[in-house]
């Protein structure tokens, strides 16, 4: 009966009250759920924030994560974004060693191929901004790693369902992907 582990992107709309992030991350940790990524920010409604989680697990894990999230009083709604047609992005900033005259041109070329931007140039390194799906960002990191990454920071995944399909709502009776 167990289904294979899959990568799921969940999106939770939460009340913008103090402690809500701690509450949710605490619940996920205490129940032993593995969260690959978690991003949070205000929405168009200042009373609400949006949290995006990437969870790896089988259907049962996904079902429990969704239900346990919904049980938290300040969580308004949980969506399994990855069950639908959606757009996913991750923003990366990294510094890579690039002394003047050395490999700067090569690095610039790589940045162009990945449609990134060089946002700061220092004496010994450059700062690069890149956004996209997780695998693209990951691929970029691997490509620049040989040049010497000195610092790296990522926002975590955020996601949004494309228009005109909201059928993937994780309702309280269970998650759409799980047959009852």
């Amino acid at each position: 009966m167990s289904s294979p582990n899959q990568r799921h992107v969940l999106s939770a709309l939460v009340q913008n009250v103090p402690g809500v992030l701690a509450h949710i991350s605490g619940m996920l940790a205490s129940r032993g759920f593995n969260i690959d990524s978690l991003a949070v920010g205000e929405t168009e409604n200042p009373a609400l924030s949006r949290m995006t989680f990437v969870v790896v697990g089988d259907d049962r894990v996904l079902e429990q994560v969704g239900k346990q999230l919904e049980k938290i009083v300040t969580v308004v709604e949980v969506l399994d974004v990855s069950s639908q047609d959606y757009v996913e992005r991750d923003l990366l900033l990294l510094k890579v060693a690039a002394a003047p005259g050395g490999k700067r041109a090569e690095i610039r070329e790589l940045v162009d191929i990945f449609r990134g931007k060089i946002v700061d140039v220092g004496p010994e390194e450059v700062m690069i901004e890149i956004s996209g799906r997780e695998n693209k960002v990951q691929a970029f990191i691997e490509r620049v790693r040989p040049y010497g990454i000195t610092e790296l920071v990522r926002t975590g995944r955020i996601a949004m369902v494309r228009s005109e399909d909201m059928s993937g709502k994780v309702n309280s009776g269970g998650i759409k992907a799980v047959s009852a």
Partner: protein, 579 residues
């Protein structure tokens, strides 16, 4: 009105008649306010904050209403934590109010400051840190609403002292709630689901109903009894479900699990359809979960959707109110063709009854409880227990015929629950006979509440099964650790029993008694007696019942007796120990 007055007025408006509150620096304004509303609300002073919170639980468990406990900041607040966690696991509706240092001092490691909201996140249904007086009426309304609706549970309200003292004119005491993410009631159960389940029951040849605390909490015991009678399906309950079905019911198979009835466990092992109502497939019920009811189709009805498919996958998971479910089912259910199975279950019950050595020349725990049960059968009795062997024997040998008459810390298993819980039950039901069946280990964890019982005129009776040991741990030592005593003897360490050198003769008593519970009880102003002879038991019980105030009956029992049957943790019915 000050924040403290608003809080207390709100308590009164939410129907709180009694609360259990222990004052301190950061909760004094609320206590002052309580005196101003003294005509409408009774404040009981426990002797330890944990006792107060367990009393609030007792009040809630017996009545179904929200129990309230209050403590000051810091240590007062953290002393509530165990009882809050306990209420979460057993789904008991309580509101705990804690004092907090003034908002400006929060985060400064001030005197008696603890981050209560942080501490309580994982063990409450919801929690609040009040930062503005104007939020208070809404927060109080939400707290009572959340505690009592859906799957009930504990709610924490942390009240900084400046909020208690803050003054506000023209406050709306009944503002709208702001709970966009909270669903108070479960969706109605679709008629298609009812049809599907009716068909599953019709096809079943060996069905079993497995009913739990949700049936009691949902006020669905009557509906369950009707369903059992109409369908003829043999029924087991959980520990939390005791009282939902009277033990004399022809289809009752009593309760299941680690120390449950052998016949209940056999029936569930062999069933082809398991109708699980308001239960959570707890590990003390299932043992090895893969082997639990492994040939059965499972129907699981619970108001909390997260319980469905959590520990055990259900073939028909139903999120809904168990009372509504049973009401719908009672309209359509028909007796399936299960007469062979019914006969089989009746025979199982006759073959493997709960039993003990009735010829023992002394008082065995089981005999003591059975005698108490017989004597109080026609009285309006409420039973609380501590945790351990006595708790299991109480569940096995006391006959619970009504819901909300058995009060046990079942999920968290908190020793020391019995006496304070009894105190809360008695405060709620002054005319009931409230008996705490306790062990000497558990009793001593909250023995100070005898003072509360005496001073607040709560005539609780303590039926103390005193074996001088931590009996359940001793039992595990005997069964799994060659009887090596590891800090399970409650007397002086110079005694032989402390190191287990005392001869392990099955019915030997501990040689010297410690402490003197009669003196302790009398010191608190309670009535007390100690007995050892079998012939004295009945008279002593009657004397205890007739005593006007609180009373401790210290019953000397041997420590070698084991609770049976027993399914060792993580094992299956095949591994059940019967002797």
């Amino acid at each position: 009105m000050t924040g403290a007055d608003i809080l207390v007025k709100s308590l009164v408006e939410h129907g709180v008649e009694v609360l259990f509150a222990y004052p301190g620096g950061c909760s004094m304004p609320m206590h002052q306010a309580l005196t101003r509303f003294g005509d409408s609300i009774r404040t009981i002073l426990p002797r330890h904050e944990q006792g107060g919170a367990f009393a609030a639980q007792g009040y809630a468990r017996a009545t179904g209403k929200v129990g309230v406990a209050m403590a000051t900041s810091g240590p007062g607040a953290t002393n509530l934590v165990t009882a809050i966690a306990d209420a979460k696991l057993d789904s008991v509706p309580i509101v705990c109010i804690t004092g907090q240092v003034p908002t400006k001092a929060i985060g400064s490691d001030a005197f008696q400051e603890t981050p209560m909201a942080e501490i309580c996140r994982g063990i409450t249904k919801h929690h609040y840190l009040v930062t503005k007086v104007s939020d208070l009426p809404r927060i109080m309304k939400e707290a009572f609403h959340i505690a009592a609706t859906g799957r009930p549970g504990p709610v924490l309200i942390d009240m900084p002292k400046d909020v208690q003292l803050g003054d506000l004119a023209d406050i709306d005491m009944d503002p709208p709630m702001c709970l966009p993410g909270y669903e108070a009631s479960a969706p109605a159960i679709p008629s298609e689901t009812i049809r599907q389940i009716t068909a599953a029951i019709k096809l079943a040849r060996r069905p079993v109903i497995y009913a739990g605390g949700g049936v009691v909490l949902g006020g669905a015991s009557e509906e369950l009894r009707e369903f059992i009678t109409k369908s003829g399906i043999p029924t087991v309950t959980t520990l939390m479900g005791l009282g939902a079905v009277p033990p004399e019911h022809e289809h009752s198979l009593d309760w299941l699990g680690m120390h449950g009835a052998a016949y209940a466990n056999y029936a569930v092992r062999d069933c082809d359809l398991l109708i699980a109502l308001g239960v959570r497939f707890d590990d003390r019920v299932t043992g090895k979960v893969e082997a639990f009811a492994k040939d059965a189709k499972i129907i699981h009805v619970d108001i909390d959707g997260s319980e469905l498919n959590k520990n055990k996958e259900a073939h028909i998971p139903v999120r809904g109110d168990v009372k509504q479910f049973l009401t719908e089912m009672n309209k359509v259910v028909q007796k399936p063709e299960i007469s062979d199975w019914q006969k089989h279950c009746v025979a199982l019950k006759a073959k493997h009854p709960f039993s003990y050595d009735e010829n023992f020349d002394g008082i065995l725990q089981q005999h003591a409880i059975k005698t108490l049960s017989d004597i109080t059968a026609d009285m309006d009795t409420q039973i609380t227990v501590g945790v351990g062997q006595h708790q299991m024997w109480a569940a096995q040998f006391y006959k619970f015929r009504k819901p909300r008459t058995w009060h046990s810390s079942s999920g968290l298993g908190t020793m020391g629950f019995g006496l304070p819980a009894a105190m809360g039950v008695q405060a709620a039901l002054p005319n009931s006979l409230v008996i705490d069946i306790d062990g000497d280990g558990s009793f001593q964890m909250n023995v100070q509440e005898l003072a509360t019982c005496f001073c607040e005129e709560l005539p609780v009776k303590v039926f103390l099964l005193n074996n001088q040991h931590l009996g359940m741990v001793v039992q595990w030592e005997d069964r799994f650790m060659d009887g090596n005593r590891a800090h399970t003897y409650l007397g002086p360490i110079s005694h032989n029993e402390a190191s287990g050198k005392s001869k392990v003769d099955r019915f030997k008593y501990a040689e010297t008694r410690y402490p003197d519970f009669v003196k302790i009880a009398q010191g608190y102003g309670c009535g007390a007696a100690s007995i050892k002879k079998k012939g004295d038991l009945e008279g002593a019980i009657r004397e205890m019942i007739e005593h006007k105030g609180p009373y401790v009956l210290d019953v000397e029992v041997p420590y070698q007796e084991h609770v049976l049957p027993m399914i060792p943790g993580g094992k299956t019915v095949e591994d059940m120990i019967l002797k």
